[in-house]
Amino acid sequence: MTTASASPSPDVARQVQATVDAIVRRGLVGLEYISLEDPQVGSTPKDTIHTDGSMKLYHYRAQTDEVYRIPLLVVTSLVSKPYILDLTPGQSMMEFLVQQGYDVYLIDWGVPRNEDSSLRLEDYALSRIPECVERVLEDSGETEINLLGYCVGGSLALMYMGTHPEAPVRNMACLTTPVNFKGMGLFSQWTDERYFDVDRIVDTLGNVPGEILLSAFDMLRPTGRLTSPIQVLDRIRDDKYVKSFMMVDRWAADQIPFPGEAFRQMVKELYWKNAMLEGTLELDGRPVDLSGIDVPMIHAMAEHDHIVPYEAAKPALERVGSEDTEEVVLRGGHASLVAGGNAMYRLWPKLDQWLSVRSI
């Protein structure tokens, strides 16, 4: 009698059976993703048209008969490798943009080498971005560009725009770009001026090692390493999700060092003084005047971004002088805003809608 009441109902048994079957099947396919030593990332066809030290400027090969007139220059983050924007065929923002008919260029800052530890924010905003802009104009034969910045890449693009009122930029798109560094949550807490000896870090280590940065990112979501596999298990039947999760997870662990002097400046000027928000940031004696930026601008942010929270990114549009602005807050996190299954249905079409009419 008791055995009968303890037996699972046929519905439950079927559900369990289906889940186990899926796990076994996924186990085989999933193992493929997990065991990929060198997954295909950043594979949208492109040419390197300019280099400067470890920096490379790529031009993506057109995949359409016609392209939009205004080329698009993408400024990637200094904190991570740029292939989050060109993750894998079918899940790549660069591939999407090229297939929509944009003439896309991308700045890859490269993996900082020891000699890059002397690079300052000036080297990026006053030297390397302008030289890439020049190179894009030269290569495309156009007189203006559209600019897109992701994460700290967006901050660097804003610094460039804020110091170059004459910049040949027609429109600007920022993706989860921090401006208010007091809003950076635990990062601003941990870099407390009283306890965080940034001079000693940079003087001793040169570049800030990727391992230290990775630990800091992991500490923002301490349970992440434990719960991530659970999330995969939960959506084990969703092929696309599992693949995209594995790729994004791999990217997140593929942490690069941060150039030492630029790190020192970021901590002192941006975290301690919040100089970008306060309008007191100067690069090589030139004030970064965000209010002087008057081009149409869109800023897309992620609802659950634990790396660049909404409070840190939101003021970007408030500080610029542009009249034509649009703020977009989409579901997802810092990486899933731009890559993976969610991005292709949320951010990319939105970006295309906004950019297409402004690229002719």
């Binding site: 519905d11 016609e66 297939q99 080498r113 870090i201 301490p222 292709m344 939105k350 297409s356 002719i360």
Partner: protein
């Protein structure tokens, strides 16, 4: 008839909710703990210890390699710097060569011909983002 049937409990949904809630609670707990001044202070102190250790190690290893007549890390990095200078000179030469080829009558024409026209215009309302 079917309205009288009791549906089977959705264990996976209950488990999902539990996992999500637990994750949120644990993260909140740890974040609160790590958001205190004491934590920042202790983090700074640990970092100082690590940096002191690193500096001492670097110095000791440097002396050791010098005594063994083996190049130190600094020597290897100096070689890296010289290689970088060569790389940059090569890149500059490459850029000049590309520019010269592009400006040459035949090369310039060929490269322009290979490029698609810059005449694309946005399609009507429904096209945006449809390719994926």
């Amino acid at each position: 008839m079917s309205t009288n049937e009791t549906s089977a409990p959705d264990f996976s949904e209950a488990w999902r909710q539990w996992a999500t809630q637990s994750e949120r609670q644990w993260n909140e707990f740890f974040n609160q703990m790590m958001g205190t001044e004491e934590f920042s202070q202790s983090l700074g102190r640990n970092l100082d210890v690590f940096l002191h250790f690193q500096k001492t190690m670097n110095e000791a290893m440097g002396s050791f390699f010098t005594a063994m007549n083996v190049p130190t890390r600094t020597d290897v990095l100096a070689l890296g710097d010289r290689m970088l200078a060569i790389e940059n000179r090569l890149a500059a030469l490459e850029a000049q060569l590309s520019a010269a080829l592009a400006n040459a009558p035949a090369g310039g024409a060929a490269s322009k011909a290979a490029r698609p026209k810059r005449t694309k215009r946005p399609a009507g309302g429904s096209e945006g983002g449809s390719s994926n």
